[in-house]
Symmetry: C2
Subunit: 195 residues, 2 copies
């Protein structure tokens, strides 16, 4: 077997994400991880120092996708309605392009140790605060209905949280159809109807 630390590391991260998803992070041991990728513990530790290193990478890589995506949206000259559409597309993209990682990001972040947990939560608060400003701006321009902005925020964010479950019956839908249907479903609930 040739030694290619980088690709071996990538395999470890992918397999670890699957184990965290299936067993939960606390119940997954370094031994489980080593067995999963077919390495002896001693050899495994030369690639990965701790299972938290993997959880950190998964959580902060995913958070970065949202941070970068939000910055791109905020930098556009789009209307608030268009910005919201772009954000819905961003959530769908992150959830569907790597469903396993998205599951771990969504469900296991609370097992981060300090100061990583605080840093992660700060990134999330920052993301949500930008999202909230777009909703508030859209309400003041009358693009969106007069509904509590935080209620709109959490309803939309969470309405997109199931997409990473690969076993849900959406296999018959194309990615484009899912995007278009979801935007129609969510936007027409948020948009102010023109009478």
């Amino acid at each position: 077997m040739s030694s290619n630390p980088k690709s071996k590391k990538q395999i470890i991260f992918q397999e670890a994400a699957e184990l965290f998803r299936d067993k939960g992070y606390p119940a997954t041991s370094m031994r489980d991880l080593a067995e999963r990728v077919g390495l002896k513990p001693s050899s495994f530790y030369s690639h990965i120092k701790s299972k938290e290193e993997i959880l950190q990478k998964i959580c902060f890589d995913s958070a970065e996708k949202f941070t970068i995506g939000m910055k791109e949206v905020c930098d556009t000259e789009a209307t608030n309605k268009e910005k919201l559409q772009l954000l819905i597309r961003l959530h769908i993209k992150v959830a569907t392009e790597d469903p396993t990682t998205a599951t771990v990001f969504n469900d296991e972040w609370r097992h981060l140790s300090e100061p990583h947990l605080s840093n992660f939560l700060a990134l999330r608060r920052d993301y949500e605060s930008h999202f909230l400003k777009i909703i508030e701006a859209g309400i003041s321009t009358q693009e969106f209905k007069q509904i509590s902005p935080s209620l709109v925020l959490y309803t939309i964010i969470n309405s997109l949280r199931w997409l990473h479950f690969a076993n849900k019956p959406t296999k018959e839908l194309s990615a484009t159809q899912i995007e278009n249907d979801l935007i129609q479903l969510l936007l027409q609930g948020v948009e102010k109807n023109v009478l």
Copy 2:
């Protein structure tokens, strides 16, 4: 201390739900539970045989609320739109009247052992299949838009899953306002617009 097994048991279930929510089910030991309620392990075992007994009760009690609620909805002569409104109210009620239990029900059910896990999933499939039929019926009567019924189902169910997080900024909203805002938000995205 007077011995009142029933009320002691209720306290144990409530404290256990909080521990499962905070530490996750796998990381919570019987010792943690006994310490939490101030009982010696030997005395604790006279009330509770295993931590899974508690998880089972939480999961199946919550599932029963949904099963009973769905039966009531299906037994009405309401339109599909009204049925959907009733179901949204049901989800809000279950999530807000006991947020701790709702969190455990939502996040920890996958740790049930067999045959309980299969039974739990069968109840959930049954609930979702009734929910789906109401959406499909509403599409065929043109009350709802032509959007993939399963997409509508999972989007709505998950859009209501954050309500049990007590730390979310909805304290300023009354329960009635949350219900009305959410129904407006979700329904007007699902309802077919009359042109």
